[in-house]
Symmetry: C2
Subunit: 902 residues, 2 copies
């Protein structure tokens, strides 16, 4: 017999945190906390395996499960000394979903389950508070109606609004026991109207209805979308947690709150959180009431005069603070807690690893090493390299003039300017069209996930630092200002009103997620200043990683930026980018229009000085470092004019007949230019082009060497090789030019010649090609296109559907397709090293900056990765993590560790 | 010390036919004949290794070689009882090139070497014939001048023409001894004028000059071209044969000739050949005098009244006929012989395997099995599958009206119509532009090779059945009429005159290479009737081959033709070809323009009946056989109108706004359609298209099964799969449709579902894909494009240069790239069989009809090949050869062998 149900609590505790896959994050941590002796209301977890069984079994439950649930419930009843469905002493429970990883897309919670027209009287009796009892009952109907029965929560809110209008009361808190009783009556009518039968009276029926709803919520579209965005497999399933209720809304000695053991936005080591007196947890998370700070420090920082928990409930706060320290020491990580205080007694409802900004992640990781909680290696593995992106992008210029409209909560750091949109759909549409958009909502909900993902910034008028908007935005690394209460966001009329001003859809707003400022119009930005922790962590990463990190750059600005970010050379300089300069393009075109070699050489001679000075500039910046220069790669027609005006203009300057230009354009047209006359095929058919480029490289390198005293190491890269003989021929030419230049200048320098491996045939014949190559650089963009037979330019019509259907787990152009492209790389690495043990191996496609792809590069033993300048730090960290995980990390001397720690 | 020189002859004979690689074809066979006791004038062979050494050593010879040549020459002098350079009794020699395979592109022969102003007197004395001696001397100067010194032979011919005009003589034979003496004087002046120094007098200098010229001729452009066409590696080198002279031109008891042991154009077993009395061999080969038939039978067949050798020289003819029988028995193959008769004594100058037409090859192979000379396996290996093409193409309709201009010799069978061109260059240019051309020359020379290769037919006004034109054309399988002496071919004015008529460049001529007829204008053609030998050999092939042979066909005509040629099913039916029918394309376009699934289904419903009846037709023809139907493959925009008129027309009929059509055209545009939204990607995004096609297949199959009683086996092929999940999804749909159709019709049949393996990723993940596939069909066209990153449509700009430079040895679209694409196939075969031992494996790219590629398919163990209908017999033979060579041939029962032999 399988064990489908695991109890947790003081008396009976079956699980622990190691069972996360089986019990979900929430369930396993409840058991772990109970095991630590912390005050956890007893309950039980129905495992994720039941979810899988449920779907395999046409959404039915087994009798076995029913029996195990009954037994677990009995043990909760025993510990709580109450009975589920009992009229005089009813046990009430919450039912919550709980997957391996937190998933806002799913059903969250049903509270107060077990209430009905009879048991509510028991609750009234037990609590001695009729108002509380009927408020609890109406909350239950509303939540159950919403999440289990699928009734729009507005239907219920309308009932309250009508009641308040009729009874002329302002606040929910002004509604009396009789008022809630009347509302409960109306609620039941709403339910019957909506679902065609009465609200379920039987607590068992309520319980199984809620359990089913949790499992069903695993497959609702927004959960599927969330999983897609976060790459969570659909077969993981969710667990269900049934837990005895405790009440934060039983009076002024009750409270509920959420907290982080450290500040999740900047990582500072103080107790960070919010609470509400006399409230249930949903009130904090949903952002319906703006909560108060947990600590005095927090209250002062926010400039609030609402008492903090530290001040209002010092005794319980002390207990909570002890729990905080105990949990952080136990888990060795920042925890995100939920708690409830019932009549001055603390109950822990959840603990989990706290989501944090990249800045916070860095500080926490470094601080914890200094505190002796974790090792440097653990610290390195704690920080998501992808999240560093947040730290590396511009922030607002503090000196720029700003038209500040209002200030909200600094919910997720970073800055963004963009067009105002009001719906998730519009955000997706506009962002899809290349616009930066700011998604403006009163509050966000899981339905908004796709739009939040698409937006450059998120702005809400309600909700706190732990509201849906804030938590999700931080997770995404998207800038967010939350709870900007002065804003009247009118989604229907697509208008934001703030004081006398109006912001319409399409207007530009700027958000500063680190200050909470909301500004009208665009604001200038500046480069981020990286914190000390960034430098420390990067130093640890650099000490450990095996692979070098280079950058893809052809402009001095990019090269400089990359150097500052720690690039150890250039892995890909795309020389054709230098051809598009307006002053040069005429010469490039004349070269293409040359009808014989002599004319072509004449045009190339005009290009030579410009290329030479480009290279000299790059070599100076990269002095002493390797610089891989790829010779001309794209098909020639990419350089030609296409608009009539351009054609005429070019023809006039070049003194060529316009008709001839059009004929040549026609001659150069290719059906599949990606697979056409490009790359080294140009070098073979028009050798003088590569000869000019080689000359520019060597002359430029000598020039730079003279200036800096530290010669660069040019690595001449021949693109699109499919057969060794191509490389033999072109290598010979490059070497001849080098010899000529060195002889002319009376100086020489080290250089190497290699190839871009970007065709399947090159991978398969790499053992042969390596006989003529000093290095291979994997061009995984083109290798993906050819291996998958998929043009990146044309994939938009089907690739999203492919990823949606799980045909490819991830976009293969963003993250390396390990099974296909990866296997080709393995073949090439093996073949290349077999022939030439010293061959240098690197990657220069977009994948060179993707952490998962970098992990693969470590696995196959590449020597370096190369990526765009802003991804260099990400690659440095990802390379270190990969080395640690693969057991390839370099040994760091003890004194170096001590120094870094000190 | 290396042995560089091998003697042959009666007294000393160092070599034999097994040393072909070292001694070349000619040299090794001269030694073999000498070893058999046949009358071979003594001589020696300088090995092919010397050629390599010569090029490695900056075109210099070693002293070692000089010593070995001296020794070998001495031994020739001893056997001949004459001395090289001796004034009174001079030894004269011929110097000939001789590579492993015969190469018309190289220097052929220098005769009479050793003559000078002194030794000519010795020759005069020895022969007692001053006219012969001086004619020999002038021939020597002319040949040496032409082939060693590089002087245009017209310069020498002009001297003779001037002499004849001045002396008022008509024929060369009318020139006296003094006349030749005077001409020799003029020749020496021509030489001195052209090369700036006198003609070499020293026989040793002459000898080494000729040897150098042979080695140099290995690298002349036309030799390189020939090697390229015939795929002969450049590093094989050539040997040099130095042989004592015998004279066919010493009088009326002398003769020279060439012969084949059987008729090389139809394979009949009679002695076939030509001879000239009182002539040197060059006179026969060069076609300067039209030679006489060797046998009485041959003379009668040609309708000639010039006496045959059998009649004119019965004694020597008998000796020659004995040699013929001895050689054929010895070599077990048809031999191509050269002989000279000097004063009634026979000398053999060459034997080699005789080039033959495909028809002859078949007959000879079958006859030799019946004669007990060779086995069936040997017979199968003797016939070049590619050559069968000659037998399978149309011949002239005998009932068609013909405008016969003249008749020449039927030099190479087959028929061709085409535009008249007069130069090799023009032939190449026009053929490159897609024209059929007839190359018209007085006589052809090795310089014409490239043009002959490009031409559809070859016509000459001079030369016989063994002239350059005839031999080369037969080798190429190109139709040729030679020696049509009534034609006045004027290359300069680009005009042919025949009687009163004039044929200009660009006019259409038709040649019948089997009758020698030359016709004005195009002539209707008919299908070939295959000989009985064809059927016998094919039966032997079918008994032995392991792989099945299918055809690529979608029309009933193609399917029927292929069945007649022995196809065992259809390996590739490209359903989209059925979409282009004018009546259907409107519906196809409406399907593409549908804005939702319902509209799309409506358009597809209109297409269904047509597709169903197409399939039913094919299934009937292939009753009981497997038929692989590939679902829609190309990108949708291939079906759309592009011309303004078509667009307007379509829009009008469909009732769609023209602007909307243009927008949709624009939406569907792809940068690289080959890598775009096509193949199963269409099936994934528009499932209803494949559903319609699957329905048409199953309904059509049931319909055909009912009619024929032998149900076909539909093999539904999903194209362009890159990941297993694509196949999982689409296979599921196909199976669902099959189940529906079978239920609706109350009948069912066997079918299988598989995929085209045409992307590198599919090969690499074949083990996974095979879990969902009943068969793999290798689509090597697209696999070549993606593996090499080379678009077939765009490769013309560089691929010829690539093949020319040897980057790829052969066009990878014509013959499978074994190192790259082949390796991918191996990976896929291995992976596929690992997962699914019963998986059916085939190939359906163009390579399925290429013998070299078929050999590869046998090596990797494919189950079948599929090719275009006309290549089916080629594939059957190639598959048998591959099976024999790989030791995979099926065992043939003895009685079957006997029956076939009987």
């Amino acid at each position: 017999m399988s064990k489908w149900v695991y109890s947790f609590g003081k008396d009976r505790n079956d699980g622990d945190t190691s069972m996360r896959n089986l019990l979900g994050g929430k369930g396993s941590n409840l058991a772990e906390m109970a095991g630590l002796g912390l005050p956890v209301p007893p309950g039980f977890t129905i495992t994720t395996e039941v979810c899988t069984e449920y779907y395999n079994n046409d959404q039915n439950f087994s009798e076995e499960l029913a029996a195990q649930v009954e037994a677990a419930l009995a043990s909760v009843e025993a510990e709580m000394d109450a009975k589920f469905g009992d009229v005089s002493n009813p046990l009430l429970v919450s039912v919550r979903s709980g997957a391996r990883v937190s998933m806002p897309g799913m059903m969250d919670t049903v509270l107060n389950l077990g209430l009905n027209d009879e048991t509510v009287k028991g609750l009234e009796e037990q609590s001695g508070d009729a108002r509380f009892a009927w408020d609890s009952y109406r909350r239950f109907i509303q939540m159950y109606g919403d999440v289990v029965l699928g009734i729009d929560h507005h239907e219920f809110e309308d009932v309250i609004d009508r009641y308040k209008r009729d009874a002329d009361v302002r606040q929910d808190t002004d509604i009396t026991a009789d008022g809630w009783k009347e509302i409960v009556g109306e609620y039941k009518k709403v339910v019957e109207q909506e679902i065609g039968k009465p609200f379920p009276h039987d607590p068992q029926e309520q319980l199984w209805g809620a359990i089913s709803a949790v499992f069903k919520s695993w497959m609702v579209p927004r959960a599927i979308t969330y999983r897609k965005i976060h790459e969570i497999p659909g077969d993981w399933g969710t667990a269900v947690n049934v837990q005895s209720m405790v009440f934060g809304n039983m009076g002024e000695d009750c409270a509920t709150g959420v907290a982080f053991t450290r500040d999740p936005s900047n990582g500072e080591n103080y107790f960070y959180g919010e609470y509400l007196i006399n409230a249930q947890g949903e009130d904090v998370v949903a952002g319906i009431r703006t909560p108060q700070s947990l600590t005095k420090k927090g209250r002062e920082m926010e400039g609030s005069n609402m008492p903090s928990m530290e001040e209002a409930m010092p005794g319980v706060f002390k207990q909570l603070d002890d729990v905080r320290l105990k949990l952080e020491k136990h888990y060795k990580d920042v925890q995100d807690l939920e708690f409830t205080v019932q009549k001055d007694k603390l109950f822990m409802l959840q603990t989990r690893s706290g989501k944090r900004t990249a800045k916070a992640a860095l500080k926490i990781a470094v601080d914890m090493v200094e505190e002796g909680l974790i090792t440097q290696e653990e610290a390195l593995l704690r920080v998501d390299p992808q999240a560093l992106d947040q730290l590396l992008h511009p922030t607002l210029d503090p000196d720029a003039s700003k038209d500040i409209l209002t200030k909200g909560l600094p919910a997720s750091p970073g800055a963004a300017s963009g067009k105002v949109v009001f719906t998730s759909e519009e955000a997706e549409t506009q962002a899809g069209a290349g616009e930066n958009v700011i998604l403006c909502r009163q509050e966000t909900s899981p339905e908004d996930i796709a739009g939040m993902h698409a937006a450059a910034g998120i702005l809400t008028s309600r909700g706190g630092m732990t509201s849906h908007a804030a938590v999700v935005a931080r997770g995404m690394g998207t800038c967010c200002v939350a709870g900007a209460g002065e804003l009247h966001i009118d989604v229907k009329s697509k208008m934001i009103r703030v004081g006398e001003r109006e912001i319409k859809e399409g207007d530009i707003l700027t958000l500063d997620g680190s200050t909470g400022e909301v500004m009208s119009g665009p604001v200038d930005t500046i480069q981020p200043e990286l914190s000390g922790e960034f430098g420390i962590l990067m130093a640890w990463a650099d000490e450990r990683r095996r692979m070098k990190v280079r950058t893809n750059a052809e402009t001095p600005l990019d090269a400089k930026t990359a150097r500052e970010f720690g690039a150890e050379g250039i892995g890909l300089c795309r020389t054709e980018h230098m051809f598009f300069d307006p002053e040069r393009i005429q010469n490039v075109r004349e070269m293409i229009f040359a009808t014989n070699e002599a004319e072509r050489r004449a045009a190339l001679d005009k290009l030579l000085p410009a290329q030479r000075s480009d290279f000299a500039g790059l070599f100076e910046i990269m002095s002493g470092l390797p610089v891989t220069v790829r010779l001309l790669d794209p098909p020639l027609h990419e350089f030609l004019p296409h608009e009539q005006e351009d054609i005429d203009n070019f023809a006039k300057i070049a003194g060529i007949d316009g008709e001839q230009v059009r004929r040549r354009l026609n001659d150069l047209y290719e059906t599949n230019p990606m697979l056409g006359h490009r790359g080294c095929r140009l070098g073979i058919t028009y050798p003088e082009i590569y000869e000019m480029q080689a000359r520019a490289i060597f002359e430029g390198a000598l020039e730079a060497a003279e200036k800096t005293g530290a010669p660069p190491v040019p690595e001449v890269m021949i693109p699109l090789v499919s057969a060794r003989k191509e490389l033999d021929i072109l290598r010979g030419r490059v070497e001849a030019i080098a010899a000529d230049v060195f002889k002319e200048k009376g100086k020489d320098l080290d250089y190497i010649v290699g190839t871009m491996i970007e065709l399947p045939r090159a991978c398969l014949t790499a053992n042969d090609i390596a006989g003529s190559a000093d290095f291979f650089s994997f061009g995984t963009n083109d290798l993906t296109q050819t291996a998958l037979g998929m043009s990146r330019d044309d994939a938009a019509n089907f690739l999203p559907e492919y990823v949606g259907k799980g045909i490819y787990e991830r976009d293969p152009f963003a993250s390396l397709d390990v099974e296909g492209v990866g296997r080709l790389i393995e073949v090439a690495v093996h073949g290349g090293r077999q022939t030439n043990v010293d061959i240098k191996l690197g990657i220069c496609g977009e994948h060179g900056g993707d952490p998962a792809s970098i992990a693969f590069c470590e696995q196959v033993g590449l020597d370096y990765v190369s990526c765009s300048p802003y991804r260099v730090p990400i690659a440095r960290l990802a390379a270190a993590q990969a080395a640690i995980r693969e057991g390839q990390a370099k040994t760091v001397p003890l004194d170096s560790k001590a120094a870094a720690n000190g």
